[in-house]
C-alpha cells in the first residue's frame, strides 16, 4: 500500500500462489516424488522442516548430511532441498537433481541463481518491514535504512523499491566514515531504523551499539529478523517453520508436477513478532500481531 504502485507481476504471483494452495488442498500430491533435504548438520529445526513439508506433500522425504550421499548418488532423487547457506555453498550442482535452497538470504541465493531451480529467502522483504513500521508508528513518519555503500544498495535490489514515496531514506555508512556517525544522522532525521538483512552490519558486535544508540534517542529498530527481537528490536515480520514448510511444499509441488519452478523469492506467509517490553518502554501501543500480519498480507496481495 505504502509503495503506491500496483504491480501486475505481483498480482499474477499472488493469484498463482492461491491457485496452488487450492490445488494442494484438494488432491494434488507428490507421493511419487523422491525429495531429499541436505543440511550441514542435523538440527532439530531442520528435522521439523522435513517432517512438516513431507506432511504437506503427503510424501516421505529424507534428511541427509552434506557428506553422506546415498549409494545411488544424489541423482536418485527428483529434487533436493538445500537447507542453509553452508549446504548451498558446498553443493556440487554438476550431478544434482533440481535444487531448491531454503534458510538462505537473498544475497546468498543470488550467487547461485543460474544453478538453483528455486529458492526461498530467509529474511523478510524490506518492503514488508517498512509497511510494518508504518503500521506501528504512523504512515507519515520518516524512516531510515543503514546500508554499507552504494554498490551494496544496488546489488541488494533495494534501490529498485520506491522508497522515497514511503519516506524511507538510505544512509550509506561509507559516506560517513563510520557506522555511528551514519546511525546518528539517521536517528536524527527518522522515527525508526529499518534493519536490512546484512549480517555484517548487524553483527553481534554491532547490534549492541546500534540498539543502545537508537534507544538512547527513543527510536526503535524494526527487524532485520526475528533473531534480533530478543536483543531489543521492537518488531519484525518473520516466517516460522510452518510458513517455510508451506511455501516450500508449494514450490516443490509446482516444480515437480508442472516442471515449472517458481522464481526465487520471499516467503509470502509470515507473522508479526514484537518485543512487548520494548514497545511498552517506548510508550507505543502495538497493534495485535495476528491481525496486523493478516492486514499486511492482504495489503501485499492487493499490490
Amino acid at each position: 500500500m505504502f509503495f503506491g504502485c500496483k504491480d501486475a507481476h505481483t498480482v499474477y504471483r499472488w493469484l498463482s500462489i492461491c491457485l496452488l494452495t487450492c490445488m494442494l488442498a484438494i488432491s494434488a500430491q507428490a507421493d511419487d516424488a523422491r525429495i531429499v533435504f541436505v543440511a550441514h548438520e542435523k538440527l532439530p529445526s531442520v528435522e521439523q522442516l522435513v517432517e512438516k513439508t513431507s506432511a504437506l506433500l503427503e510424501t516421505r522425504s529424507e534428511l541427509r548430511l552434506l557428506h553422506e550421499p546415498p549409494e545411488a548418488g544424489w541423482q536418485s532423487y527428483d529434487a533436493v532441498v538445500l537447507v542453509g547457506p553452508q549446504a548451498l555453498e558446498s553443493w556440487s550442482f554438476e550431478h544434482s537433481p533440481a535444487a531448491v535452497a531454503v534458510f538462505v538470504s537473498r544475497d546468498a541465493a543470488a550467487a547461485y541463481r543460474q544453478q538453483l531451480a528455486s529458492a526461498l529467502y530467509l529474511e523478510p522483504p524490506l518492503k514488508r518491514q517498512v509497511a510494518l513500521a508504518k503500521s506501528i508508528l504512523g504512515s507519515d513518519r520518516p524512516l531510515g535504512i543503514l546500508v554499507q555503500d552504494k554498490a551494496q544498495w544496488k546489488n541488494s535490489g533495494l534501490s529498485a523499491l520506491p522508497l522515497q514515496q514511503a519516506l524511507v531514506t538510505p544512509y550509506f555508512v561509507d559516506q560517513y566514515g563510520n557506522l555511528n556517525r551514519a546511525l546518528l544522522d539517521l536517528l536524527k532525521n527518522s522515527h525508526a531504523l529499518i534493519g536490512t538483512y546484512d549480517t555484517e552490519l548487524y553483527s553481534s558486535t554491532n547490534i549492541k551499539n546500534i540498539l543502545i544508540t537508537a534507544y538512547r534517542q527513543n527510536k526503535p529498530l524494526i527487524g532485520p529478523s526475528s533473531a534480533y527481537i530478543k536483543a531489543g528490536a521492537l518488531a519484525t515480520t518473520y516466517s516460522d517453520l510452518d510458513d517455510v514448510a508451506r511455501r516450500l511444499s508449494e514450490i516443490l509441488l509446482t516444480g515437480l508436477k508442472e516442471q515449472l519452478w517458481p522464481d526465487a523469492g520471499y516467503n509470502p506467509y509470515f507473522k508479526v513478532r514484537y518485543n512487548q517490553q520494548v514497545g511498552r518502554s517506548l510508550n507505543l501501543l502495538l497493534p495485535d500481531a495476528d491481525e496486523l500480519a493478516v492486514r499486511l498480507t492482504n495489503s501485499e496481495r492487493e499490490n
Partner: protein, 776 residues
C-alpha cells in the same frame, strides 16, 4: 518509583517488608528461574536464522533492568523535556526551560543574582527546595543549601533530556528531593560525534559561545565541550530605553570532558571532569566603597561503573568530588566602633541593643547624644532608663541587662579622648573579603533487580561528605557526613494494578536522622491510560549555615583608628548558639491521570494535589537576620495539566496549565519589626502565580523551523499579571558534511511588571538574539 539509570531511563520499584525474608528470597529465585527458561524457549522457536546465517548468538542488549517504564506505569507526575524541544525553544539557560513545566515558576534572588525555581511555592531568595541532578551528580550545594544555576557546567546543547519529577521523591533521588526533582541527563559522547560550534549575540549584553568535539576510537568515546555565557541581567526598576541601571551582569565559562568505554562485555565505565570560572556583578551595600563582585571557580570529577550481570540484574557504583570556590572583595568604610570586639560579643547576646549602641554613638555631638553616651560611660544610667528612652524615641521594646549596659559603657569609654566622645563617630576604611570553599565527596552503590515479571527493585547505599572552609561563614572548616540507605520496589499486583513503595533513611552529623517514605498505586484503565494515587514525604535538612553558622565579615588593612586595630570583624554576626532548626517537611498527596491517545498522537496528564509543608525556614539567611526559626507552615492545593500533541511529523504542540492555591502561616515573629513581618509573610509566595498557562507550537519545514510560545501567569507576585511570548526560528543548510545554521530568537514582554522584586525588570519589552552554528 522513578529511578534514573545512566541512560536516563526511568525504572520502577518498592520495599519488601511484609513477607519474611526467607520466603521472599525463595519465591523470587524460583520466579526468576522460571521466567528465564520460559523466555529462552519462546525466542528459540522462531530464530530460524541463528544456526545458519548468524555466527554468534545475538546478545540481549536492552535488558529488563535497563528499559524505561511505560508512561502509564510511572508512579509520579513527570514532565520530560527532550533535546529536540530544548533546541526548538531556543532559550539560553536551564531555568528558562522550567517555565514549560506545569506548576513551576521562575523568580530571582535579590542578593546574589541567582535565578530561583519554585514548584508551586517557595522563597525566591535562595533556591534550596528542589533537587537538581546532572547525570546522577547533585548540584545542590550543601554547605549553604542552594542551587546556583550559573554554576552548573552543562551546555544545553549536550542535554539529552530533562526529567522533572513534580513532587517529593527522596526515596529515589535522595536527600532534599523536596518540592520536586530536576534530573538532567546529558548525551552520551558517542551520540554527539563530530564538531559543533555556536555563537549567539543580542541585546541585553547576550554574548554566548559554544564549541564541542566528540570522537571515538575502538569502543571508547569522548567529548570535550567549552562554553562561555554572558549577559547584562536585569536593568532596574526605573530604567528605560535599553538602559541598564542594575548591577547584575555575569560572565561564566567552563570546559567539560566526558569519556566512556566498555571495560568488558558487561561493564561500562564513564568519567567526567570539568573546570569552570565565573564572574557575577553584585550590588554594593551602603558601607562598601566598591561592588563586592563574586569570582567563582568550580570543578568536579565524576565516575560511574555500571555492570549488567544478566538480563534482569544490573548495578552501578558512582563516585564524585566537586569543589566550589567563591570570593567577594571590596573596600569598605565604616565606624570604628562597629569593629569593637566587645560590640561583636554583645551582638551575640542582644543584637537589637548592639544596634542601638551603634545608633546612639551616631548622636554624639548633639546635646541628647552627649548626655546619653556620657551617662552610660559614667555608669549613671540604669537599664530601665535606657529601655524607657528607646521605647519613647525609637519605638523599640528592648530588654537590657546590667551586664549588657556595662559592655556599652566599656565600648563608649574606649572612644573617650579625655575631652569628649567624638572619636565614636570616627570612620575607618579597609578591605572586606568573603571567601567560601565547598567540597563534596559522594559515593553511591545502586542495584536494580527484576525478580520476576511482577516484581522489580532498586536499592542502594551512599555516603557523602560536605566540607566547607570559610572564615566568613564558619570561622574555619566544618563538615557534615550523610549516610543514606534507599529501596524502592514495583509490584504488579494484578495486570491492571501496580504498587510502588519505597523509602530513604538518612543519618547525618548536623541534623537528626530522617526517613522519607513513598507509596503509589497505578491503576491501568487501558494499556496507555492510568489513574495514579501517590503519597510521598520528604525532608530538607537545614544546611550548615542555617544550623551551625559563625558568620561574620572581617575588615583587613584598616587605617589609623582609635581602637588601634589592624583588622577586625564587623559586630553584626551570626552564631549557632540560638539555633536548633528542624528539618523542613513536606507531605504530598496527588491523584493523577495519564493517557496516550495513539490515534491522535496526543498525551495528556492531569493531577490534583495537596501539599502540606511544615517546619519551613522562611527567614532570610543573612548576616543581619535577627532570628532564624523553622516554624512556617504552608498548605498548597491545586491542579495542573500537561498536554503534548503531535498531529503529524512536522508539528507539535505543548500546553501546560496550573492552578495553585497556597496559604502561609508564620510562626513566632515577635522579634521582628512590622516591616520585617510583612516581608516574611509574602516571601514564600513572591514567585507564585495563582493561574499559569503555557502554550507552545513547533513547525518543522524543509531545512527550517519555527517555534512560538506564549506564557500567561495571573496573580503573579500576589497581584501582577505576567505575559510574554517567544519566537525562535532556525534555518539549516548542508554542504559536503558541513551543516551551518542560523537563527533568530525574540522574546516580547506584554506586561511590564518585575519578577519577584522591583528591580528585576528589563528596560525594553523586546529581548532578542541572533544565533549561528556549524556542525561537521
Amino acid at each position: 518509583m522513578l529511578f534514573p539509570t545512566d541512560t536516563g531511563v526511568l525504572v520502577c520499584s518498592m520495599t519488601i517488608n511484609i513477607m519474611s525474608k526467607t520466603r521472599i528470597i525463595f519465591s523470587l529465585c524460583s520466579a526468576l528461574l522460571l521466567s528465564e527458561t520460559a523466555l529462552t524457549d519462546e525466542y528459540d522457536s522462531f530464530e530460524l536464522d541463528t544456526p545458519f546465517v548468524l555466527d554468534d548468538d545475538i546478545p540481549v542488549v536492552l535488558t529488563a533492568s535497563r528499559l524505561k517504564q511505560p508512561r502509564a506505569e510511572v508512579p509520579a507526575s513527570v514532565t520530560v523535556i527532550e533535546a529536540a524541544q530544548i533546541a526548538a525553544w531556543g532559550v539560553r539557560s536551564l531555568p528558562e526551560l522550567m517555565r514549560f513545566v506545569p506548576g513551576m515558576s521562575i523568580g530571582h534572588g535579590d542578593d546574589e543574582n541567582n535565578t530561583s525555581i519554585a514548584y508551586h511555592a517557595s522563597n525566591p531568595n535562595i533556591m534550596r527546595r528542589l533537587q537538581v541532578l546532572v547525570d546522577g551528580r547533585s548540584v545542590f550545594k550543601a554547605g549553604i543549601a542552594s542551587v546556583v544555576w550559573d554554576d552548573i557546567p552543562v551546555a544545553l546543547e549536550d542535554i539529552l533530556r530533562i526529567e522533572v519529577t513534580r513532587g517529593p521523591n527522596a526515596a529515589t533521588y535522595g536527600a532534599n528531593s523536596f518540592l520536586g526533582v530536576i534530573n538532567i541527563v546529558t548525551k552520551h559522547p558517542g551520540d554527539t560525534l563530530g564538531t559543533r560550534m555556536r555563537y549567539r549575540t543580542g541585546n541585553n549584553g547576550v554574548d554566548d559561545g559554544f564549541v564541542s568535539y566528540s570522537g571515538e576510537s575502538n569502543q571508547n568515546s569522548y567529548r570535550i565541550t567549552a562554553l562561555i555565557r554572558a549577559d547584562d541581567g536585569f536593568d532596574g526598576r526605573d530604567a528605560s530605553g535599553g538602559d541598564d541601571e542594575y548591577r547584575d551582569s555575569r560572565r561564566h565559562g567552563f570546559v567539560t570532558a566526558y569519556f566512556n568505554r566498555p571495560l568488558d562485555s558487561i561493564t561500562q565505565l564513564s568519567l567526567q571532569a570539568s573546570l569552570k570560572q565565573g564572574h557575577t556583578d553584585i550590588r554594593r551595600e551602603s558601607y562598601e566603597m566598591d561592588a563586592p563582585d563574586q569570582e567563582t571557580k568550580q570543578g568536579y570529577l565524576w565516575s560511574r561503573i555500571r555492570t549488567e550481570f544478566s538480563a534482569n540484574h544490573s548495578s552501578h557504583l558512582q563516585a564524585y568530588w566537586q569543589t566550589d570556590n567563591r570570593k567577594q572583595r571590596s573596600a569598605a568604610c565604616l565606624p570604628t566602633l562597629s569593629l569593637d570586639p566587645e560590640l561583636f560579643s554583645l551582638y551575640q547576646q542582644n543584637p537589637q541593643w548592639s544596634n542601638s549602641v551603634l545608633g546612639i554613638s551616631r548622636l554624639v555631638g548633639t546635646a541628647d547624644g552627649d548626655n546619653l553616651v556620657g551617662g552610660i560611660a559614667a555608669g549613671l544610667v540604669t537599664p530601665a532608663d535606657v529601655e524607657t528612652l528607646l521605647l519613647a524615641n525609637q519605638g523599640l521594646a528592648l530588654d537590657i541587662t546590667q551586664e549588657q549596659l556595662d559592655s556599652a559603657r566599656n565600648i563608649y569609654t574606649r572612644g573617650f579622648n579625655g575631652t569628649d566622645f567624638l572619636q565614636l563617630k570616627e570612620m575607618v576604611c579597609g578591605d572586606t573579603e568573603r571567601n567560601l570553599r565547598e567540597d563534596r565527596y559522594d559515593i553511591e552503590w545502586q542495584d536494580t533487580m527484576q525478580w520476576s515479571d511482577t516484581l522489580r527493585t532498586v536499592s542502594g547505599i551512599s555516603f557523602r561528605r560536605d566540607q566547607v572552609d570559610s572564615e566568613t561563614y564558619f570561622n574555619g572548616r566544618v563538615h557534615n557526613d550523610t549516610y543514606r540507605l534507599f529501596a524502592n520496589a514495583e509490584w504488579r499486583m494484578t495486570p491492571y494494578l501496580l504498587m510502588n513503595a519505597g523509602g530513604m533513611y538518612e543519618a547525618e552529623d548536623t541534623n537528626d536522622s530522617a526517613f522519607s517514605p513513598r507509596l503509589a498505586f497505578n491503576w491501568l484503565l487501558a494499556p496507555q491510560h492510568s489513574i495514579r494515587l501517590v503519597y510521598s514525604e520528604a525532608v530538607r535538612s537545614p544546611d550548615l549555615l542555617e544550623q551551625e553558622p559563625e558568620y561574620s565579615i572581617r575588615v583587613k588593612n584598616l587605617g589609623d583608628n582609635y581602637l588601634n586595630l589592624n583588622d577586625g570583624r564587623i559586630y553584626v554576626n551570626q552564631t549557632a548558639v540560638s539555633r536548633d532548626l528542624k528539618h523542613e517537611k513536606i507531605a504530598s498527596t496527588e491523584l493523577g491521570y495519564y493517557g496516550k491517545f495513539s490515534d491522535l498522537n496526543l498525551e495528556l496528564d492531569i493531577k490534583v494535589y495537596q501539599d502540606k509543608l511544615t517546619q519551613l525556614i522562611s527567614d532570610h539567611i543573612a548576616l543581619n537576620s535577627l532570628s532564624v526559626d523553622s516554624d512556617t507552615k504552608m498548605n498548597i492545593n491545586g491542579a495542573e495539566m500537561q498536554l503534548q500533541w503531535q498531529p503529524d511529523s512536522r508539528n507539535w504542540f505543548w500546553l501546560t496549565a496550573a492552578y495553585i492555591d497556597a496559604d502561609v502561616t508564620l510562626g513566632d515573629t515577635s522579634e521582628l519589626t512590622e516591616k520585617q513581618r510583612r516581608s516574611l509573610s509574602v516571601v514564600e509566595l513572591r514567585q507564585t502565580a495563582q493561574d499559569n498557562l503555557v502554550v507552545s507550537w513547533h513547525h518543522q519545514g524543509d531545512g527550517w523551523s519555527v517555534t512560538a510560545s506564549h506564557f500567561w501567569l495571573d496573580a503573579y507576585n500576589e497581584t501582577n499579571r505576567y505575559r510574554r511570548y517567544e519566537i525562535n526560528t532556525k534555518k539549516t543548510w548542508s554542504f559536503n558534511g558541513y551543516k551551518p545554521w542560523a537563527g533568530f530568537f525574540l522574546q516580547h514582554l506584554i506586561d511590564d511588571f518585575p519578577l519577584a522584586y522591583a528591580d528585576q525588570r528589563y528596560s525594553t519589552r523586546d529581548l532578542y538574539y541572533f544565533q549561528a552554528g556549524l556542525d561537521f
